[in-house]
């Protein structure tokens, strides 16, 4: 799960509207809100087109590049993407349903079927300043799953592992897609028809797992 920088606000009209609301936001209703696509596409821009938690590709960059915003509004009518708007902390959904800081765009099944309204631990909030995947996480390149960094103390590891589970990062189908994606890349490199630099440039998803695999395999090669 990459760190997400949400400071680049392309949908400034939505942000003004969000800030203009008092303590209690107007009721959250995704299908009925004029700022829904402004939020979604701005998030996809910040998230580089992938699910905030699993890093599965959700949208082509042709749809979220900054040229599609005019006067703080996203311009394409009903753009195609496969994802859902997730309230990271579901307890805020009722009173702060439109809070930018609490939004991520995620793979639909992660939102609808897996994470749902379970309580979260902010230790793995991908836009938090303190979140650094390379300090908190490890990637097992054989099992193709993320775990907490085993250098951290046990209680912290447990909190992180609980959140990895809650965010669906290691769900079996996610793991299978990630494993197949990375194996293809690694096989290309090992067969001499690709290199890490070019593959990184072309890679559209699973950035963190890619980077961790690369680090590990290149270290092994140099040993």
């Amino acid at each position: 799960m990459q760190r997400i920088d949400k400071t680049l606000l392309l949908s400034s009209e939505y942000k003004q509207w969000e800030e203009s609301m008092n303590e209690i936001h107007s009721q959250y209703n995704s299908s009925n809100n004029k700022y829904y696509y402004d939020v979604v596409m701005n998030l996809l821009h910040c998230q580089k087109g992938v699910c905030a938690y699993t890093e599965i590709l959700l949208c082509s960059d042709e749809l979220y590049h900054s040229g599609h915003w005019k006067n703080g509004k996203y311009q394409i009518h009903k753009p195609e993407f496969s994802g859902a708007l997730d309230h990271f902390d579901p307890s805020l959904k009722k009173s702060k349903g439109w809070l930018w800081n609490n939004f991520f765009i995620v793979q639909k099944d992660i939102n609808d079927k897996h994470k749902q309204d379970k309580p979260v631990d902010y230790i793995l909030k991908p836009d938090s300043i303190s979140y650094n995947p390379f300090k908190l996480l490890e990637y097992d390149e054989q099992l193709h799953i993320f775990i907490a960094n085993t250098d951290l103390d046990e209680s912290l590891q447990k909190r992180i592992n609980d959140m990895i589970e809650l965010l669906g990062i290691n769900l079996s189908w996610v793991k299978t897609i990630r494993r197949n994606h990375l194996r293809r890349i690694i096989a290309k490199i090992q067969n001499g028809i690709g290199n890490w630099q070019q593959e990184e440039k072309d890679n559209e998803q699973f950035f963190t797992a890619f980077a961790m695999c690369r680090q590990k395999l290149q270290t092994e090669e140099n040993q």
Binding site: D140, L143, E165, N170, W173
Partner: protein, 421 residues
């Protein structure tokens, strides 16, 4: 006759639904009707409905040719000539592979043949046979469909056998001189007379019953007259198993095989709903071949939920039904549509997949295991990571302890070292 294609104009969830049931380009049988078809899909997608559509029975048939008007055909209410390519009606297209004759059966009950071939002569070949594996509480006996056909030859054979044995028994007391001669005649008779029970046992049921440690009792064994009008099952070591004590799976196999024994179908269309019912996975994996080998040049349609059954089919033989957002259904194609229906363009082949891959790739199961496994895999990865970082940090004993934990968990997870998991 074999079904070549099917079109349903508008029936329940089927709207303008078309199925091409021929082998794709690049296949040795390209263009010919499929020998077997496996229909899969979520409950409600219409697997059984498709079987029902294909279940053409004698009483529904009205034959005509493209130039015949209704008043010439049995005074039926056909107002115009039937066009075999008419898509205002649903239809099934057939081909007779021997003569290459084509025919179309419409939803309104008309069969249209492309030439003047005798329709009545063709009619038995359009008839399909429906076998339902939901044998429930049925028993092996006279209430079964085809029972008369099944038992007729067996009873006739047994009656003759009993008669001859009685005659020999009488000679023991009356005419010892002829006894040896009659015994030889009896042995000769046994050798030359086709024994239907032996046929049923050795060529049909025992081929599968041995997997349950059972077989058909071939020895003449009766205490009452009804005994000769039934089929008895015994254990491999000869102990009779009464019909009411046979397991559901055993009964299912017997009751679905008996119609094939009775009719000895040739060039027929055989429809089979849920062949996996009550069967253990090892039997499911072989049951398709078992049934097919009991018939001659038939076309089979199986509707199933079993990945093991599906693994017996070539990818073009799988009809996977899926829901459209509007609730109608479509067939999921396993080839790249832009490149065309050619064997080289198929991206899924159930014969080459592991069972779990069939579940995820064909049956769209979004998990490859229970999610409890994921947490255990995380534990395994944690142990692996600790072991990799252990040098210089942990004592030999501590490392050994971690290694033991790792191996124990790896075994529990059936995790193969350096292999796909």
């Amino acid at each position: 006759m074999k079904v070549k294609s099917l079109f349903i104009k508008d029936y329940n969830q089927f709207k303008d639904f078309e199925l091409d049931l021929t082998y794709p380009a690049g296949h040795p049988k390209a263009g010919q009707p499929l020998d077997k078809v496996c229909i899969i899909g979520q409950s409600g997608t219409g697997k059984t409905t498709l079987l029902d559509k294909l279940h053409v029975v004698q009483r529904t048939l009205r034959f005509t040719d493209p130039n015949t008007k209704s008043n010439q055909v049995n005074n039926n209410s056909l107002n115009s000539t039937m066009n075999p390519n008419d898509s205002d009606l649903g239809f099934i297209k057939y081909i007779n592979s021997d003569t290459n004759t084509q025919a179309t059966f419409f939803d309104n009950g008309y069969f249209v043949c492309e030439n003047a071939e005798s329709f009545s002569k063709l009619s038995p070949h359009f008839m399909s046979m429906f076998i339902d594996a939901n044998t429930g509480s049925k028993d092996i006996g006279k209430n079964l469909q085809y029972w008369k056909d099944i038992i007729k030859d067996i009873v006739a054979f047994r009656e003759q056998e009993i008669q001859r044995k009685l005659e020999i028994a009488e000679l023991i007391t009356t005419n010892q001189d002829r006894l040896q001669e009659e015994l030889e005649k009896f042995n000769e008779w046994q050798k030359n007379m086709p024994n239907p029970l032996k046929d049923l046992a050795e060529n049909y049921l025992d081929k599968i019953l041995y997997r349950f440690n059972l077989r058909v009792r071939q020895s003449l064994d009766f205490k009452k007259t009804e005994d000769i009008e039934t089929i008895k099952i015994e254990t491999i070591d000869g102990k009779e198993v009464p019909n009411n004590l046979l397991s559901t799976g055993t009964k299912q196999v017997i009751l679905t095989t008996l119609p094939l024994y009775a009719l000895k179908p040739q060039k027929k269309i055989i429809l089979f709903d849920e062949p996996e019912r009550s069967l253990y996975p090892d039997i499911q994996a072989i049951i398709v071949d078992f049934y097919i080998n009991l018939t001659t040049n038939c076309q089979f349609f199986f509707a199933t939920h079993s990945p093991l059954i599906a693994s017996c089919f070539e990818p073009w033989e799988i009809v996977e039904l899926k829901f459209n957002p509007d609730g109608s259904v479509y067939r999921e194609l396993y080839y790249d549509v832009e490149k065309g229906n050619h064997v080289d363009n198929y991206t899924i082949d159930p014969r080459y997949l592991r069972w779990d891959s069939i579940l995820t790739r064909l049956f769209d199961l979004d998990k490859d295991s229970n999610e409890a496994r994921t947490r255990k895999l995380m534990e395994l990865a944690t142990l692996r990571s600790k072991l990799q970082k252990a040098n210089g940090k942990l004592s030999f004993e501590e490392k050994q302890k971690l290694q033991t934990q790792f191996e124990k968990l790896a075994e529990l997870l059936d995790w193969e070292y350096d292999a796909e998991n």
